[in-house]
């Protein structure tokens, strides 16, 4: 149960919820809400009151759809093909190496071993993501991995797809054509307007914003208008300018923007002070940005905020969004594996960054070891203690836990152990605030807002969200 302005939100472990006026909640608590009251029926239909015995079976179905990811092994496999990068971004100090550094590339042998691990997973769809550093620097290896993975997929009748996180700058025409031919999805970085982007994402000799915009049109010419997505890294510089950041995405022709806060690790403490911010500061930024995005949609501009879409999928549908960073049991290790350039295998990107700064606790093993062994490693067992949100102190009784997730790596880095109570952490504070914000919007039942949000959740044009938008 959570208070939202004027109302009370009641949820259960199936993710069913009702939003009722304060007075109705009090009447319910005191046993004064009449059974003939339609709101009594609403509450009963959501399984929040039981009058006729349990309908356990259907509850099990809902759990099964919501936690559908549980029935399969890791589906997202991240290959760090090189740590070298031509950028030296302010917020990226440990997950890059200089262009001419040696020993920072994945060997061909390790890449092939990593593919063995990928195909040991029984996930119905395997996704291979190329990361760095700048993976474009080793596009030769990327090609080889893609071709080999496709061969294996065909032989084993499996589905494999590819994504790459890249600045785009170093991708040659032939590389882009290869991406197109193998349906590789590209994700790039755009931190907002030119001044923010260029000063944060430092290129030694040129303006990185101009290069990105230029590379973007080159990539789109080959891959199509929707062939490239982008993510911003939100630093203190952007906090006071949410509208500018959103506008930069609209102007660059993107249909979505994914507003996530800067991770509190991966760079030096001193840098953190100049780039970082509190949860409250981020939420002020986020709410302003979301409001602006909503207004743009009402004015006919199609742009989606991805955090809201993910959270609302968890709230408004009986399915999980597929997003690895907000699921329980956690994505770390159970849904994602990271194959580092040096042959080490980690449960998440944050974990391998922590390893770069000397925290070796997250290493699941070496790429030459079978998947089973890594998933039953001491490191995985240790992380698993914090992998189930529903069992953590502070989460267990939280009204938002059916929609939230666990990130044991984050908590082990920030708090020392993966299973320490979440209350008071950035992870908890931000997610609570975002759920509060979104449930507040649902409670308001404003048709303009809900049409936009439902359009995002169900992948519809806003204009096609007609009657029936109300959540009953």
């Amino acid at each position: 149960m959570v208070h939202i302005p004027g109302s009370v939100l009641i949820t259960n472990d199936l993710g069913e919820y009702v939003i009722v006026p304060e007075a109705v909640h009090v009447a319910l608590e005191e046993g004064r809400l009449a059974m003939s009251d339609p709101r009594y029926a609403d509450i009963e239909a959501r399984g929040l009151i039981s009058r006729h015995g349990p309908t356990d079976g259907l509850s099990a179905i809902v759990k099964r759809t919501r936690k559908g990811f549980l029935t399969e092994g890791p589906s997202l496999h991240i290959f760090v093909v090189t740590l070298r990068c031509d950028h030296s971004c302010q917020y990226c100090q440990v997950s890059r190496a200089a262009l001419n550094a040696t020993g920072k590339d994945m060997t061909r042998a390790n890449a092939m071993l990593a593919l063995d691990r990928v195909f040991e997973s029984d996930a119905s769809t395997l996704t291979i993501e190329f990361q760095g550093g700048g993976p474009a620097l080793r596009f030769d290896l990327v090609r080889e991995i893609v071709q080999e993975a496709e061969l294996r997929a065909e032989k084993e009748d499996r589905v494999v797809q590819f994504t790459m996180a890249t600045t785009l700058h170093l991708l040659a025409q032939a590389d882009l054509e290869f991406c197109r031919d193998h349906r590789m999805h590209l994700s790039t970085s755009l931190d907002g307007p030119e001044d923010i982007h260029a000063s944060q994402r430092v290129l030694p000799k040129s303006n990185s914003w101009k290069s990105t915009i230029e590379a973007l049109s080159r990539a789109r010419a080959v891959l199509g208008e929707h062939g490239v997505a982008a993510l911003p890294t939100i630093t203190r510089a952007a906090l006071s300018r949410p509208e500018d950041v959103v506008d930069a995405y609209v102007e660059a022709g993107f249909g979505s923007i994914f507003l996530r806060p800067l991770a509190p690790y991966g760079f030096a403490r001193k840098t953190r002070a100049s780039l970082g911010y509190s949860v409250d500061e981020f939420m002020t930024f986020y709410e302003r940005a979301l409001n602006y995005v909503l207004r743009l949609n009402e004015a006919g501009v199609r742009i989606e905020e991805t955090t809201a879409t993910i959270m609302l999928r968890h709230i408004l549908t009986p399915f999980h969004s597929g997003y690895m960073d907000l699921r329980s049991p956690a994505g770390a290790g159970l849904g994602v594996l990271v194959y580092n350039y040096d042959g080490g295998v980690y449960p998440s990107d944050e974990a391998r960054m922590a390893a770069e700064t000397g925290d070796a606790r997250f290493r699941l093993g070496d790429v030459s070891q079978p998947l089973d062994k890594m998933l039953s490693s001491d490191a995985m067992m240790w992380l698993a203690k914090g992998a189930i949100a529903e069992r953590q102190n502070g989460c267990r009784d939280c009204a938002f836990v059916p929609y939230c997730g666990a990130d044991p790596v984050h908590h082990a880095i920030v708090q020392g152990e993966p299973d320490v109570g979440r209350e008071g952490t950035d992870f908890c504070g931000r997610h609570m605030a975002q759920f509060q914000l979104l449930f507040g919007r649902i409670a308001e039942r404003d048709p303009d807002t809900m049409k936009t949000l439902l359009g995002w959740v169900f992948q519809r044009d806003r204009g096609d969200v007609g009657p029936g938008w109300v959540e009953h």
């Binding site: 006729h52 309908t55 179905i61 029936g468 009953h472």
Partner: protein, 400 residues
Amino acid sequence: MGRTLRSAPALYTHAAVTGVDRVRVFKVLAPDEAKADRYDSCNVLVLKGSDDSPTLKEQMRATEGAAAVRIDDLRHPDVVRPGDVVRLRPGSTLVSVLYRRGSNANALFVTEQCNSLCLMCSQPPRNESDRWRLDELHALIDLVDVDEPQLGITGGEPTLLREDLAYLIDHARQRLPNTLLHTLTNGRLFSDAGLADMLCASAGDQAVWAVPIYADIAALHDEIVGGVGAFGETMSGLYELAKRRARVEIRIVLHALSIPRLPQLASYIYRRMPFVEHVAFMGLEPMGFAKMNRDRLWIDPADYQAPLCDAVHHLALRGMSVSIYNLPLCVLRSDLWPFARASISDWKNRDAPQCRTCSVRDACSGFFASAGPQWRSRAIAPITGSGSSKGEEVSRYGVA
């Protein structure tokens, strides 16, 4: 196919029947098709004379094996056509059509017994054993056209037959591997995991189990279906079906008791049963108990368009397949037209006088033949194409 079904004749007629020593079913075939020898010739009647003198009385005679069976002087020659299956009784002039080629309403009527007692039941149950039907149904299955797209299985409550229903489905699947078996069931007995195993195994993905749910809360559903505990049993039954990956359709009859929580019910179906492949909203059929309970059930469809819209669009937005049956287009809000199916079984379909000038009658479900004026919506009026806003919807949705 291609036959106009709108004014299809009745399902029985009388004739001079000779040579029948017990209740039997026969496939009626034109001479050409009879030569193809696709059916056991003992069970085939060859239709004679229809080509030379189609307006005169029909005469049928059996081929060799059943040479003694004859039907002469059909009172309504149009009732029996090539491809149909008829039942003949000794000492009776009655010729009943059990299967009609090209009809959209062919069904195996498996029992009159039922474990529910719905307020609006169009086929009130009778509580006596009618297992005699099984032999006839097995014989009928052997005479159904092999390319029949869909065969209903209905009652009463078919699952009361337990293993006998499984045998029937097994037989139908062997003989008619491309026919969808659309089975109307209240789903309650599927809560018995053993029975669910048996029926799902026999049906595979060739059967769709069409299960009615009338409310998102037990008390209301139980009141409508006349059985305390029915809601819980149906929900458990649906779970057992889902667990076995059976194909499930949800059916909702629209009346004064189901309307008030209709949008909530739609939401419930999406939240709890995202596995269902189709949700059908059905206009009330003014037959059987529905007539007796008119006072409790009747609501003019014109007065429930808002909740129906909410419910239909709620599910459609969420990617679920939705249909509206038994409601003529003129009573539906135009944004519901894309969901309306011309669904009333052909033998029940009748045109009201208002329909004669209507421009969308071919896309419309029409009315139930039995509906009197007290069952007719005040919104019934011809849609005349140009000029009216609904007329514009005709072209928009391409239904005309």
